[in-house]
Symmetry: C2
Subunit: 488 residues, 2 copies
């Protein structure tokens, strides 16, 4: 074992030791820890926003918002834990008179064990060190091994400092959260493949997510890898709204496409519509809006180089026509916002058009007919989101198209933009492969805790040996399914 | 494409067409279908039990019980659908006064799409054609492609006849359930790898389940494979109960070990205890019970050959000692019930001892100390079940051991036998790898439906376009999480 492997081994053994204690804490105790992390991050707000700004080129307003989202998320999981019903307790009481006699059977969700979380480059706070994966795993009762993203390592270290303070003030085990650095794949691979790792969380590129899955599948005992990987978030603009709201739609979507220089998983990369004069007018106006956007620095050099490469690769495809690029030149590390168009027939003939160009790039697919629009939708891979831009008349007319859209993504919305992912119980930030590795889970919202837990069934246990969640008199007053009836 | 592949392709396209209609049926409509299948099976009870008896060598009492379990399971899912809350509806209402304004966000579980189910050899009814995987997938709204097990193909065909009748009487789409035959791996692999397949259910051997996972991982778009594969179901006999209930424990466990000639995934294959005179007496009595059991025919020739081979392989391991075999000779296709013992030190030194010997074989591990018992438990792979045999004094004394057991399996029980898996809301028939491919799910009980669904989020939808489950006035009167409060 070389030095790096020895370090990973120690980290995982420490995580396992922490799990023995942390995994058994009450909801209230874990909630206090999450709240303490939020408070310690809040106390460092100014310093964090400054350092993250330097590392990511993101403006203070965005970073302040993202930091608030991060602390809000931690506190929301705290509320979930204090309420307690998330464990999905179910109780089937004994029936001695039945043949054969039925024993008392109870189940609840329990933590899987140590979880490895990879920080994401595009959200230095909300999807990184104390972000959604970490918050949900800690809420579940799983220690977290955080692999920092090298693009914002100092920010990550400072967030970890806040976590360390929370560990000390609340008295949870020292190694409940550990922070691991390391460029390249060696450390990440070793973490995913360590025998004590029980699950993995990742937000990033398709190639990154796929590599982690492969590492897991090579294990003697594969573990769940939830990777949120790739999405071009198709938006369908229906005829009536295109006709009636042309300019407004162009403004709204230019803003969504270029928000944060397009560096969102939910960036609208694909715009679909049936050919019409209104569509031409919309494309024209949207192009003008895009041309007026000032290029800004991307998160880091690598992501900018990748954008330029993917964008170039797309622009050379047969049938693609550039509608507009930002009028100003793009300088060092700046992305050039770009709008392009292609006919549906060309799109259907060339799978390359479905690839993600991560950044402020969007492709309009012009369809000759409703049938062709449906063919394009049927051809798309799994997505995080899909959007319906429509008047009430469109909604009444295009039910078949909207039904197709529902099969495509984890979230479907009407007359909204896909950017902006609310942290709440009903959110789904997930979707069919390759949007994520498993459409049955979400990485944002309260349900994201389900990735890190498994049901455990207790049969014929004396009451005093049951966890509080399953005790007969329901000391935590949580909602439980008792003999097939919901009771509190 | 050869003939078999063309057939698989047609089957999957038909399943997809069925899904377009079936996936959108109401809970009540799907419940009527499940009830009709149960009734059509019940109407064929006598013929089914006769033919299954011929194909599997299982006695009529067992087959009648299993058939009732199968119809009961279908009806239980019908109840779940009629009640409706299983979709985990969550609603976060709009908040226009917040900055930024929060849109209306709602989610519920929706079916994945066509599901391929592999019939299991050891349960011709309950884990086969209309068994748990099929019932839960149909309840979820997923069409099922059933790959019949060749060991009971005629039984499977007759069950499918019942399903066909239910399809006709209830008017669900013709191809909602399809029945596929085919020996060897070709058809199974083609089904798992077909682009329209969205999930796979399997109960069987580790090598079979692992192969299906590999097929899925080779896909451009991997799909969830839930395989229940392998378990030796460790039972710990604690000192005080061994001392006080020696003879009774021997009787109880001899029956569990040899029930159905040990052909259960929950068969207690591993018995653990700390060395004592009482343990010696228990082993002696258990051996005498096993010796008195008459060998019976196993399910089919292949499974008997495999049992003999695995048993022989185990008996040649260093340190193993045979305690007893059935006194009567085993004839054609009959299994010889066998009890063996090995010292914990030998067990720890040789991973072969942890392998499953599917059939009436059980291995006693004698441990020198409580610490050695814990070492053995820590070394075990994931299991479906683990059992604590203990007096109240044992339970008070051995909390650390019982905690270790909880980390091992999907179900832990006290003073029961692991054989006998209740179909109910609180059941977990699952467990850490390699017991199953994903410890977060169960293949028995109402939660087994979660394998075949994904959450779908509807944002900013007008009420009339929402599914009934999410409409504002809750027309189905289901339990929903509305702005973080459970409401009906």
């Amino acid at each position: 074992m070389n030095e790096e492997m020895t370090a990973v081994d120690s980290v995982m053994k420490q995580a396992q030791q922490a799990y023995d204690v942390y995994g058994a804490l009450s909801g209230a105790e874990k909630a206090a820890f999450l709240d303490a992390i939020a408070a310690a991050i809040e106390a460092r707000r100014e310093a964090l926003v400054t350092i993250a700004g330097k590392e990511t080129n993101l403006p203070p307003a965005r970073l302040n918002g993202e930091l608030s989202r991060t602390t809000g998320q931690l506190k929301l999981f705290g509320q979930l834990l204090r309420e307690g019903s998330w464990v999905e307790a179910a109780i089937d009481t004994a029936n001695a008179t039945r043949t054969p006699a039925r024993p008392d059977i109870r189940k609840m969700l329990v933590p899987l064990g140590p979880v490895v979380v990879f920080g994401a480059s595009n959200f230095p706070f909300a999807f990184s060190t104390a972000g959604g994966d970490t918050a949900s795993a800690l809420a579940a009762g799983c220690p977290v091994i955080l692999k920092a993203h090298s693009a914002h390592a100092a920010t990550s270290a400072m967030v970890f400092e806040a976590i360390t303070e929370a560990i000390e003030t609340t008295g949870v085990p020292e190694f409940t959260v550990q922070h691991v650095m390391g460029r390249g794949n060696t450390v990440g691979k070793a973490l995913v493949q360590h025998p004590l790792t029980t699950a993995v969380g990742f937000t990033g590129s398709f190639s990154g997510g796929k590599a982690l899955c492969n590492y897991s599948n090579e294990r003697e005992k594969p573990v769940p890898v939830f990777a949120e990987m790739s999405s071009i978030n198709p938006v369908v603009f229906f005829p009536d709204t295109l006709e009636k709201n042309t300019a407004e739609l162009a403004k709204q979507y230019a803003a969504s496409i270029t928000l944060g220089m397009g560096q969102f998983c939910t960036n609208p990369g694909l715009l679909l519509a049936i050919e019409s004069d209104a569509l031409e007018q919309f494309i024209h106006l949207l192009g003008a809006e895009i041309a007026a956007v000032a290029p800004q620095k991307m998160l880091h050099k690598g992501i900018c180089e990748s954008y330029n490469e993917l964008r170039e690769g797309m622009l050379t495809q047969q049938g693609l026509e550039v509608v507009a690029t930002a009028a100003q030149d793009a300088h060092d590390m700046e992305a050039l916002p770009t709008l392009a168009r292609v006919k549906a027939a060309d799109f259907l003939a060339n799978p390359h058009f479905s690839e993600e160009v991560f950044g402020p790039f969007s492709l309009v697919i012009t369809c000759q007919s409703r049938e062709q629009l449906k063919q394009v939708l049927a051809k798309l891979k799994g997505q995080l989101t899909t959007t319906v831009m429509a008047t009430p008349a469109d909604l009444a007319e295009y039910k078949d198209v909207i039904k197709l859209q529902q099969s495509l993504a984890g979230r479907i919305m009407i007359n909204n933009v896909p950017t902006g992912v609310e942290v709440c119980a009903a959110m789904v930030h997930g979707g069919p492969y390759p949007a994520t590795t498993d459409a049955r889970f979400t990485s944002v919202g309260l349900s994201s805790i389900q990735r890190w837990v498994r049901p455990l069934c207790f049969q014929n246990f004396p009451d005093e040996l049951l966890p509080d969640e399953l005790k007969q008199d329901n000391p935590l007053s949580i909602w439980r399914l008792v003999d097939n009836e919901w009771k509190q």
